[in-house]
Amino acid sequence: MRTLTRFMLAVAVVAALSATAVGQPAERGVTPTEIVLATSMPMSGPAALWGTGVGGGIDAWLRHVNDQGGIHGRRFRFLIRDDAYLPPRAVANVRELVERDGIFGLVSSIGTANCFAIRDYMVETKTLWITPACGADVWAGMRERNKYLFVTYPGYVDEGIYLTKYGVESLKAKNIAVFYQNDLYGQQGLLGVKRGIAQVKGAKLVAQVSYEVTDAEVAAQALKLKESKADTLILYATPRQGALIVREIAKVGYQPTLMSTFTLLDPVMFALAGEAWNNVYLATYIPVPGMGDAKVDATLATLIRINPALARNPFNASAGVSFVESFLEGIRRAGPSLTKDRVVAAMESLKNWDGEVIRGVTYTPESRQGINRLFMVKSERGQYTKLTDWYTYPRKF
């Protein structure tokens, strides 16, 4: 009896050893039961709103996937590190995540400066990097180097061109003013508006007024905008500053046609700006919560069920899902024996793929820009209504 037990034990040991020895080399961050993903985001400090919303959304969505049994029997472990929006801390976090925690991939990261600071390291270590939320400028000219990068995030310049074209052609804009945040995001939007004006004749840019993201109030900017007498005002701002400027111009009796970038689609705008947020024309790349899209609303409900705090931040939480969805589909398509290169191949097979929030994702071996489409919506009495069909712009990377 004892011999038999020993024999069985020996067999088990040999089997276990040979399984690890003969089986293919283990992929970093992947075990038969687990996939390790991570992110470094501003969870504290003045930019914490984005980190807690987007990071919290991704975290909740991965937990939801785990609750459904994971993908091919593997569940996700998701590590969130705080970088307080500071590039040195972001680099330190990412190095630790890759070298110590051995992550399979980095999901997003926020802020152009942070993206630039970790970019070279990500390329060197050939780590999968999904949808860093920063301007497409970061990737321009490095097509041959970004094999492991996938982005489902719109280009700010293209959005600016589209907004301007729509304003001039459909809303009869003649004199355009831009209110923008003084960083890469706002500047690229402004550049897009300028290019759009150059492409369609008959309109001119009469004012470009900027603010700092730390500015407490924007009264001086509102007076400048009023003096410009522009008939159309395009906003590139965060919800707080966007609501402030809309209220300030209403206060001084200035009423241009309002147009805006997708960041102001956040439903919080109706609460912040009140009646002033009526008849605003916005471009977007995803259907936002509260727009009547059943899948998006159901997704948000799931997120809030898992993490009730996300109810305060519905737009960013949904955006978080849109960042990571195509990657999860890639993992699904890569099959049970998961490797980095299988995921890359699987993601390159995505053609016009629709997720719960993101729509029309296409990757090819040449292009990592997953989405290149936008459409227009309009705000009316606390609701957004869809105005146009998809508009497609050329891929850049």
Partner: protein, 291 residues
């Protein structure tokens, strides 16, 4: 001319906020020589507490009182449980203690209330406006200016016209001598902390309806209020008020006519120039150092 008047109105409203913040900074500095870097975060905490109380359907005046009381309580607790036990700390060490408090409070506000932008319900509307000629004055601006001036007057009466005020002045001038004369210096310090924190809280409550409520809303007003206090003279309460209004108006006019991009730089440039002419601030007491 209308334009200038419009800028002046804006400057007065922000100026009265700066003055309230500056008063809190000066009150603490002249009594205990502490530069309180947590002033802004104490104010933010008080405002958030008021916000929660308002959400519980409390009447406005009660909710605001609750918020200010919370701010005052944090100030007093910090004094008794951190600053007193760390008597040995140098002046710079005390600054670092307040920096620690600022981090703790700001973190706590983020954890409890989240980081999203909130609407602070206020009886005065920011979009309803009065017109004086061509000049537009919103109800909140008017309310801010009036409330600011009322609070400043009350503080003046308290400090200059009451027994407690006399004790506060005595402790500020020479704590040991005051204590020898039977003034309970510790209680007076605690009271000063409470008063300063509540003043900050008042600034927060006045600011929140204008710029919305979020955990970092006091960052900029605190720095400006601190700067205004220095410009006015760190040991002078009237100086803090003067500094606050001057800074608010200068900023608004500069932003309107020249550049809003360099608004803050200009504010500090003006302050440095003032200090080069009067190193003790506009109304600060010139004191002669002896070796």
């Amino acid at each position: 001319m209308t334009q200038l008047a419009q800028y002046l109105v804006g400057g007065l409203a922000t100026g009265s906020l700066y003055a309230l913040v500056a008063l809190g900074v000066v009150l603490l500095y002249r009594s205990s020589r502490v530069l309180n870097f947590a002033h802004g975060d104490i104010a933010t905490l008080g405002t958030f507490v008021a916000f929660t109380l308002l959400g519980r359907k409390l009447p406005f005046s009660l909710a605001i009182t609750g918020g200010l009381a919370a701010a005052a309580l944090v100030g007093v607790l910090f004094f008794f449980f951190v600053l007193r036990p760390a008597k040995e700390a140098s002046l710079l060490g005390k600054i670092v203690l307040t920096l620690g408090l600022a981090l703790v409070l700001s973190g706590a506000v983020q954890v409890v209330w989240g980081t999203d932008t909130l609407v602070f319900p206020f009886p005065l509307s920011d979009t309803r406006v009065h017109r004086i000629g061509q000049v537009v004055v919103s109800e909140t601006s008017l309310g801010t200016i009036v409330t600011g001036i009322v609070l400043m007057t009350l503080l003046y009466v308290l400090v200059q016209g009451t027994k407690i005020g006399l004790a506060m002045r005595a402790v500020a001038q020479n704590a040991d001598a005051a204590q020898a004369l039977g003034i309970p210096a510790r209680k007076i310090y605690a009271l000063t902390w409470a008063l300063a924190a509540a003043l900050g809280g008042a600034a927060g409550v006045l600011l929140a309806p204008v710029v919305y409520l979020d955990p970092f809303m006091m960052l900029d007003p605190f720095l400006k209020g601190f700067a205004a206090a220095v410009m006015g003279g760190m040991d002078s309460l009237p100086g803090a008020v003067l500094g606050g209004f001057l800074l608010g108006i200068a900023e608004s006019v500069f932003a309107g006519y020249i550049s809003f991009k360099f608004k803050t730089t200009m504010a500090f440039a003006v302050i440095i120039l003032v200090l080069l002419v009067r190193p003790e601030g506009l109304l600060g007491r010139v004191y002669h150092r002896r070796v």
